[in-house]
């Protein structure tokens, strides 16, 4: 298969979105760029034949997490206030950038020298159906699935309690979104 | 039970929807430019100037007293008094408006001008299609455009017009009687030639004598 053209385009879109999300000045712009990055990744998954993962990525990241981030930005007055400096010129900031560069260098070296990466040559795209994924989730991975469900419930309740305003005796119905509206 | 009210509402709107094709009562809209409702007699919209007879210049009732101009709340009336005078319906010499403009865009149809006019010269019209594509000249109505005959008034507001006409006839009769009495008195006081005075009696109403007398 090689590096196909569509893969290249999607990779550039994802990376450009990521860079923009981490460098733009206004927080809402960052969030929107982040969405581009998430969507690009979802398309990459689809391109790699992982249909279910790609669509789940789209549904969860673009549909939910991006919206959550945007809500958080607006609720913390990040949407209108002073745009913060794109990169703080503090020593800590420079150190962070250097650390990231070093991590990238190490990772690239690892990928370049790894025998696995070189061996993974063109394989025919695996034909997975939704049915197989469903059976895998419900049979082989049913315990992790239940744990995840429990964790999501706990996170839901935790998020509601955290975001709930103190000193107010309102019933804790609804979810984080509802809280967001009230705040 | 939840949803009951919504179903009742849905039934009602469905009856409206299908009923509008068969029942007249469920489609009460008038298709305006083609169909028109007859306006009630009391409907009024915009002032116009009345004149008697057939000549708008000669018969114009307005004497340019400028009361309406002063009373008009949005100040949409503009009057310029004439230099010369002409006789009014009872024969008195009165000024007349050289310019009488009403700005349609400013008029708010309050009818105060009608209420204050002592000469029954201004009345409310029923026309409502006043829009025009010329927003400067087209919306400023001049005396010529505003003048309408008394017959028109009688047609659009018959009850009101009858009342006004009756009053004016009485006024005219009174004025004529007064003129006749004055003429008779003058004739009696002077008493030079009775024949001459009686010959002048009819035309006395139109002569300056009455105006001077007033």
């Amino acid at each position: 298969m090689g590096m196909t053209f569509s893969f290249l385009i999607l990779a550039i879109m994802t990376l450009a979105g990521g860079v923009a999300a981490m460098t733009m000045r206004r927080l809402v712009h960052c969030a929107l760029a982040l969405v581009v990055s998430f969507a690009g990744l979802a398309a990459l998954y689809l391109n790699l034949g992982a249909e279910f993962a790609g669509l789940a990525q789209l549904l969860v990241y673009v549909g939910a997490i991006a919206i959550l981030i945007v809500f958080a930005i607006l609720l913390t007055r990040g949407g209108e206030g002073e745009p913060e400096g794109s990169f703080s010129p503090s020593p800590a900031g420079i150190a962070g950038a250097v650390a990231a560069l070093a991590v990238f260098a190490v990772l690239t070296w690892a990928v370049e020298t790894s025998s696995v990466a070189r061996a993974g040559a063109a394989v025919a795209a695996p034909q997975t159906t939704m049915r197989e994924i469903g059976f895998a989730l419900m049979q082989r991975y049913v315990l992790p699935l239940e744990v995840i469900a429990l964790m999501l419930t706990a996170a839901l309740i935790g998020a509601v309690i955290l975001a709930l305003r103190e000193k107010r005796n309102e019933p804790a119905d609804g979810t984080a979104q509802k809280q967001g509206l009230r705040a | 039970m939840l949803g009951e009210g919504i179903i009742q509402g849905l039934v009602e709107t469905a009856r409206n929807f299908f009923g509008s094709y068969v029942e007249k009562d469920r489609l009460t809209t008038v298709q305006y430019p083609e169909q028109r409702l007859t306006l009630p007699e009391a409907s009024r919209n915009f002032p116009f100037l009345l004149y008697d007879g057939t000549d708008p210049e000669a018969g114009l009732r307005c004497v340019a007293c400028q009361i309406c101009e002063k009373e008009c709340p949005p100040r949409c009336i503009h009057i310029e008094k004439s230099k010369d005078k002409k006789p009014d319906f009872v024969g008195k010499q009165q000024a007349y408006p050289a310019v009488f403009d009403i700005d349609v865009a400013v008029c708010m149809s309050c009818q105060i001008c009608v209420e204050v006019c002592p000469f029954d010269a201004i009345r409310m019209d029923k026309v409502y299609e006043l829009s025009t594509s010329d927003r400067f000249g087209g919306l400023l109505w001049t005396k010529e455009q505003l003048s309408k005959p008394n017959e028109y008034y009688q047609k659009i507001h018959p009850l009101e017009a009858a009342e006004t006409d009756e009053r004016r006839e009485k006024e005219l009769a009174e004025a004529q009687a007064k003129a006749a009495a004055a003429a008779a008195k003058a004739a009696q006081a002077a008493n030079p030639a009775p024949g001459d005075a009686s010959g002048n009696g009819a035309s006395a109403a139109a002569k300056p004598t009455t105006a001077v007398h007033e």
């Binding site: 090689g2 590096m3 893969f7 990779a11 994802t14 990376l15 860079v19 981490m22 927080l27 982040l34 990055s37 990744l41 990459l44 998954y45 790699l48 034949g49 992982a50 279910f52 993962a53 789940a56 990525q57 969860v60 990241y61 997490i65 959550l68 981030i69 958080a72 913390t76 990040g78 913060e84 400096g85 990169f87 703080s88 150190a95 962070g96 950038a97 650390a99 990231a100 560069l101 991590v103 990238f104 990772l107 990928v111 990466a117 993974g120 063109a122 394989v123 695996p126 997975t128 197989e132 994924i133 895998a136 989730l137 991975y141 995840i148 964790m151 996170a155 998020a159 955290l162 975001a163 | -």
Partner: protein, 103 residues
Amino acid sequence: MTPLAGCLLVSALLFSIGLAGALTRRSAILVLAGIELMLNAANLNFIAFWRFGAHPEFLTGLIFVIFSIAVAAAEAAVGLALILAIYRHARTSDVSEITEMKG
């Protein structure tokens, strides 16, 4: 370059971008966004290894990504709720200004 190496490189780059953002940006929300990017980079690795690995029929990488997405959603919800709570308390979401542990 093999497709697997390409995927891994993109993922490494994305991870570094996320790391750089998380370390340098001062807004707590963007720090969280950087962490999300790093998580996503890891997911891309899982997908790549599943796709070009020896046994794609076992679906291990795919299922892991699905679980990872679920965990990321929970993490984002709790993390943003925390940021909101901190903002309400300290009136700022700038991580360099939130220096006190005192309540």
